[in-house]
């Protein structure tokens, strides 16, 4: 190995060290600092939602700074109006739901115990397994944890409320320069590969996140309007819940509808209300499947149902409900990355 080759090797190692160290540091900071991961993910989502508007304004000849400031102020204004209009009723709905939770859980317990007995009498002659008393504690624990932790989430939301706009603003203004600086640290022999990966990941994942968020917002609005129309209580809370879970493919629509059914059944079996609920959720999911998904589908990374279920299982084990939601974009990123790496390394070399 001559002097130049040695210098190239040392340079590559130094660059690789700094590049990897920067990524690891970023990851550790995100995982360790309270609220930072959630804030970062929300900022990332908002960034992908706002980026087209910022680019559009820049195309019209406005400087990047003003093209960022104007949509940013417009969104802040819209969110402030939204908070002013909806937070009182949302808080009231959550509060009422918290108060009535023991009552609902008690009613649900009865229904589930009844179901368990029926299922048990049907299954036990064939498979002598004990199902009684196993499903209900899980559901009640999950529901009470969700509602008990909700105020904690809301109290930490003050930090998030400050961090998210701050991060989003600088992602929009300087995000590309930051990524360019990071890629600049990559050694020459990996430079084109990393650049290509970054291009493919940012274009596909950007589209994926944007499509999912738009889908989620539309679903939230439709369910809210639908539930209001049939006069169902907690319309806003249930719509937000369903819209958040719709991000999870296949399982999301079913899980998102469950609380409404539990609440309905807890108040006694009312076939008219149940029919109304079914119609609302079914209509929204038909609109989602027939209109929203085909319209946005080109931008959504296609994931196999088995992959989705496995990802959700791992995500929920690691980070609970948040893990179930963020695992899908993470898996989609991993899929795009591995596909790009596979193509890069295995295709022919002429």
């Amino acid at each position: 190995m001559n002097r130049v080759e040695r210098a190239v090797l040392i340079e590559r190692r130094v660059k690789l060290f700094f590049f990897s160290a920067s990524l690891i540091l970023l990851f550790v900071v995100l995982m360790e600092v309270t609220n930072l991961l959630v804030s970062f993910l929300l900022a990332f989502g908002t960034y992908f939602l706002m980026a087209p508007a910022v680019d559009y304004m820049e195309r019209k000849g406005i400087s990047r700074l003003w093209a960022t400031v104007i949509p940013f102020l417009a969104l802040t204004l819209a969110i402030s109006i939204g908070i002013y209009l909806f937070i009182p009723s949302l808080t009231e709905q959550v509060h009422t739901l918290q108060l009535k939770l023991p009552q609902y859980l008690d009613a649900i317990n009865k229904i589930i115990s009844h179901l368990e007995q029926q299922v048990g009498s049907f299954i036990n002659p064939v498979f002598p397994i004990e199902v009684e008393g196993k499903i209900e504690p899980r559901i009640s624990a999950w529901a009470s944890v969700l509602l008990r932790e909700l105020p904690d989430y809301l109290s930490s939301s003050f930090t998030i409320l400050i961090l998210v706009p701050f991060l989003t603003f600088f992602m929009l203004l300087d995000g590309r320069e930051f990524v360019r600086g990071l890629i600049g640290m990559v050694p020459n022999n990996f430079f084109e590969l990393v650049l290509n990966l970054n291009y493919q990941i940012s274009s596909q994942i950007g589209g994926f996140i944007r499509a999912r968020l738009i889908e989620s917002i539309v679903v939230c609005l439709l369910i809210w309007i639908g539930l209001l129309a049939i006069g169902f209580p907690y319309a806003l809370v249930l719509a937000i819940f369903a819209a958040t879970l719709i991000i999870i493919p296949y399982l999301g629509p079913v899980l998102g509808a469950l609380p409404a059914y539990f609440i309905s059944l807890a108040g006694g079996v009312n076939s008219g209300q149940l029919l109304g609920l079914t119609l609302v959720y079914l209509a929204v999911h038909v609109i989602d499947a027939v209109v929203l998904v085909p319209f946005l589908v080109a931008k959504i990374v296609d994931l196999h149902p088995v992959t989705v279920v496995l990802a959700i299982a791992i995500g929920s084990q690691m980070m609970g409900i948040l893990g179930m939601i963020i695992c899908i974009p993470v898996v989609a990123t991993l899929k795009v990355t591995s596909a790009a790496l596979y193509r890069h390394f295995t295709d022919f070399r002429t």
Binding site: D55, R64, R176, R180, G184, L195, N196, Y199, R349, T350
Partner: protein, 176 residues
């Protein structure tokens, strides 16, 4: 004190020279001062040592490079039909202000059809597909200007290749 001022001067001079080098390139010569300033923020400046690979034949092509300092050798690896062994042929040596790899800007997952290796200490300005997409998104006028010039370059290359094929066919007595 002089030392500090010297450095500041050198930095601004370096930036200015990058803009000038971009402006001097055929692809970017129609760009206005503002468009060049945007492009300057988008491109990547890379340093290579002698013998270092810039890209290898068969790699996925991501974009083009402009040489601002040094020389670059272009090699093609071929399989000799008689022996089945690979043979590396030196195609050309590119010098300052030359550019290469531009076909990758318009190809979707296209492969590099030659290898580029730094012959001396090189400073290259990399302009990649993602940069072309970014400039087209942020300033479509600049994007169109670059794309028109790129079309011209590719058209010129096609004409030269067609002429070369015609010449070779004539040499071998094949009628067109």
């Amino acid at each position: 004190m002089n030392y500090i001022w010297d450095n500041i001067f050198r930095d601004s001079h370096k930036e200015k020279s990058i803009r000038q080098k971009i402006k001097a390139n055929f692809l970017f010569q129609d760009l206005s001062h503002t468009e060049l300033r945007l492009l300057e923020k988008i491109v990547n400046v890379r340093n290579y040592r002698p013998g270092e690979n810039i890209f290898r034949q068969g790699d996925v092509g991501v974009g083009m490079y402009i040489i601002t300092k040094g020389t670059v050798n272009i090699y093609v690896e071929e399989i000799v039909p008689e022996t089945g062994e690979p043979k590396t042929a030196h195609v050309t040596q590119l010098k300052e202000a030359d550019f290469f790899g531009d076909l990758a800007l318009v190809e979707e997952n296209g492969r590099r059809n030659a290898s580029a290796v730094a012959h001396s200490e090189c400073i290259l300005i990399g302009f990649f597909k993602s940069d072309l997409m970014e400039i087209t998104g942020r300033n479509p006028t600049a994007g169109v200007k670059i794309l028109l010039r790129l079309g011209e370059v590719l058209g010129q290359r096609l004409r030269e290749t067609t002429a070369k094929i015609a010449e070779l066919k004539e040499q071998n007595g094949v009628t067109l």
